[in-house]
């Protein structure tokens, strides 16, 4: 049955593709349709580690993904719908197809310079790349695919009101908070302007449960080649965000009804800074280097990290002593999921170099965990002729000493090949 549904889904995708080709000719002032067709092959290899003992979570995966992202706009209502079907080649199974409304919103011009946005949408207030301290209204961000070639970014339900003047912009937002497990609501207020050559923004944000924070961003261009940026957010919150259970002890194994490792201690409130500052330099021969330092206050200290490693080790031993294999697997899956894609430790350095030769674009980057010396390497190569398609190759490799974050994370390497058609 699943196979039939998936085949129907792929057929619909193909139908959408052919209509997408024709859609460009249907554009009018009130109706528009953009279509992106993505075909992706993802080859992942895993390592046996403390978080994946004996290759419990699998040794790797080869996935083929087909997706169509439709962006229709009708009478001022804009939306983005992603349809996806995937197949696991190694296990020879179809993965459930999915349909996600990434955006559905309208923008109302109240008076000149005052606009309201209502619906599911996303806002991006950040100026940094590898980590985003003031990202409250976008889901699915990837620090390597910074331009969102995969069209994974998704919005949150919101009402936003903006005043846009020559001196700057003031925006107020009330939105759902999907980044939190408990899905609380949130509100935020941001003022943006400039002082001399620097662009600055200040903001406050609060969740509906009363926990709030404040911060800001700044960008500065020096001469013709150098850009500097910084982003800071101080959050008053509990420390349980980064990795479930890790900062507290003792850990408990889940029971039949609970979902993961959980904490027994009461929550502790405090101020947690999330800071990114860095810069990029571009040469006349089109070579760009980006460097960023990241500090995540919610990240784990050395003690907390060691405790997490210890818990994983204990879970491994306990699991094999009596718990059912599926329960043990689920526990490890939860730990692994809490490690990625969010960075779980406190301090990182990100360096990325990119260049282009006519229609070919390439980049290479490294994210270094400063506490343990582990590193996540990445590289991309893209070919984009001036027509309606492009092709990308991306590789990510995690490596590091034993006991380090990137040395223990189950995913060892990921190779992605992607072909896109854009209409």
């Amino acid at each position: 049955m699943k196979r039939v549904i998936s085949l129907v889904f792929l057929f619909l995708i193909e139908m959408c593709c052919s209509r997408g080709v024709a859609a460009e000719g249907l554009l009018t002032d009130d109706v528009a349709l953009s279509t992106t067709v993505l075909s992706e092959m993802q080859i992942t290899s895993a390592r046996a580690s403390l978080f994946n003992p004996g290759g419990l979570l699998g040794s790797g995966k080869t996935k083929v993904i087909g997706a169509v992202v439709l962006s229709p706009s009708v009478a001022g209502i804009r939306s983005r719908l992603r349809l996806e079907a995937a197949r696991d080649i190694r296990r020879d199974i179809w993965i459930d197809p999915s349909a996600e409304v990434q955006e559905l919103y309208t923008t109302l011009n109240i008076v000149e310079g005052v606009q309201a946005t209502v619906g599911k949408s996303f806002l991006s207030w950040d100026v940094s790349y590898a980590s985003r301290p003031v990202n409250f209204f976008t889901q699915g961000i990837d620090y390597i695919d910074i331009r969102d070639h995969r069209r994974r970014n998704s919005g949150v339900p919101m009402v936003a009101l903006s005043w846009i003047g020559k001196a700057g912009t003031i925006t107020g937002v009330v939105a759902s908070d999907c980044s939190e497990d408990m899905n609380r609501g949130q509100w935020a207020l941001r003022a943006q302007g400039h002082t001399g050559p620097a662009e600055v923004a200040a903001l406050i944000r609060s969740r509906f449960d009363g926990l709030f924070g404040f911060g800001g961003t700044v960008t500065y261009v020096h001469g013709r080649s150098l850009e500097l940026h910084g982003s800071l957010f101080l959050n008053r919150s509990t420390s349980d965000k980064g990795c479930k259970g890790a900062p507290c002890d003792p850990f408990s194994l889940f029971g039949p009804e609970s979902s993961a490792i959980y904490m027994k201690k009461p929550v502790r409130y405090g101020w947690y800074p999330h800071l990114v500052f860095g810069g990029q330099y571009t040469t006349e021969s089109r070579f760009n280097v980006l460097v960023e330092y990241i500090h995540e206050g919610f990240g784990l200290s050395d003690t907390q990290w060691d405790r997490l490693l210890g818990a994983a080790d204990a879970l491994n031993r306990t699991g094999f002593l009596g718990a059912s294999p599926s329960a043990v697997k689920r526990n490890f899956f939860n730990i692994a999921a809490s490690l990625r894609p969010r960075l779980v430790r406190r301090d990182y350095l990100f360096v990325r170099a990119s260049t282009m030769w006519d229609e070919i674009e390439g980049s290479t980057g490294v994210l270094v965990g400063l506490a343990d010396g582990g590193a996540s390497l990445s590289g991309t190569l893209g070919y984009h002729p001036q027509w309606n398609w492009d092709v990308w190759v991306e590789v990510r490799r995690n490596l590091g000493p034993k006991g380090s974050e990137f040395g223990e994370v189950p995913e060892r390497m990921r190779l992605t090949l992607m072909l896109r058609f854009l209409f």
Binding site: S124, N153, T282, N288
Partner: protein, 260 residues
């Protein structure tokens, strides 16, 4: 006494030679030396304004721009843009191609910002980053030289009667080119060709301006051909059309309004 006079003369000749070599070693000096050195300034600012008017025949409005990439006579690529020009010098470039549809660039004397709709980010770029990625908007977005450049030197063009060479320098580092050598027809103010230089003195590209056409009783240049630069053997033809003079809301030329 004769020895003293000879020494004195030799010192002056030496100093003259050093000054001449120094003068030649600067890009501006080279540009002027390549042309006739007889300089008779023909109200250069007015000449530049007339040239600007031929490229953008109104203060505020919009214009459609096609960038056609040619290898020999074969078209290998085409990009389409809409450029919105404000009367205070800022411009906004809307990218219309499927691959980058929805991207917008804001170019003003304060800098360059690029809006990427897939991530909803407004990214601040350095002038040299304009040469990366979709570089076309750097050229289509700045239609008026007098917004970005000041006249540093004027000379008569070599072997071209009635043609003046204007040596322009960037007013601020936000301009993509550090220096421009622009040749203009004295009688009409029509730009004929230009060379664009980086801060290091490296020639980034050259442009040839097509014959003017009439728009609302004014002469407008609708075709420019770029050559050289970083893509060897490739020409880019910039074709402008659908000129439309209109008043545009001010917020369109702000960072906050870039996503709207």
């Amino acid at each position: 006494m004769t020895n003293f006079m000879n020494t004195h003369r030799l010192v002056w000749i030496f100093l003259g030679l050093v000054s001449w070599i120094f003068f030649l070693s600067t890009p501006g000096g080279w540009l002027v030396s390549a042309e006739d050195d007889k300089v008779v300034p023909p109200e250069p600012a007015a000449l530049l304004t007339r040239a600007d008017d031929m490229r953008m025949p109104f203060g505020e409005g919009r214009v459609r721009v096609d960038l056609i990439t040619l290898e020999g006579d074969r078209i290998t690529g085409r990009s389409r843009y809409e450029v919105l020009q404000s009367d205070h010098g800022a411009s906004r470039v809307e990218m219309l191609d499927a691959r980058v549809r929805g991207q917008r660039a804001l170019l003003s004397d304060r800098g360059l910002w690029l809006y990427v709709p897939s991530s909803r980010r407004v990214i601040r770029l350095t002038p040299l980053q304009r040469l990366m990625g979709n570089a076309g908007y750097g050229d289509v977005g700045r239609m008026r030289w007098s917004d970005d450049y000041r006249i540093a030197q004027v000379s008569a063009a070599k072997n071209r009667a009635g043609v003046w060479l204007l040596h322009l320098k960037a007013k601020a580092p936000t301009a993509v080119y550090s220096e421009v050598a622009l040749r203009l027809e004295e009688k009409t103010g029509r730009p004929l060709d230009a060379d664009f230089y980086a801060a290091s003195g490296k020639l980034l590209k050259s442009a040839k301006y097509g014959p003017p056409v009439e728009f609302n009783g004014r002469l407008v240049i609708d075709t420019i051909t770029f050559t050289g630069g970083l893509s060897v053997g490739i020409r880019t033809r910039m074709v402008m059309g659908a000129f439309c003079e209109e008043n545009l809301p001010e917020y369109l030329f702000t960072i906050g309004g870039l996503g709207k």
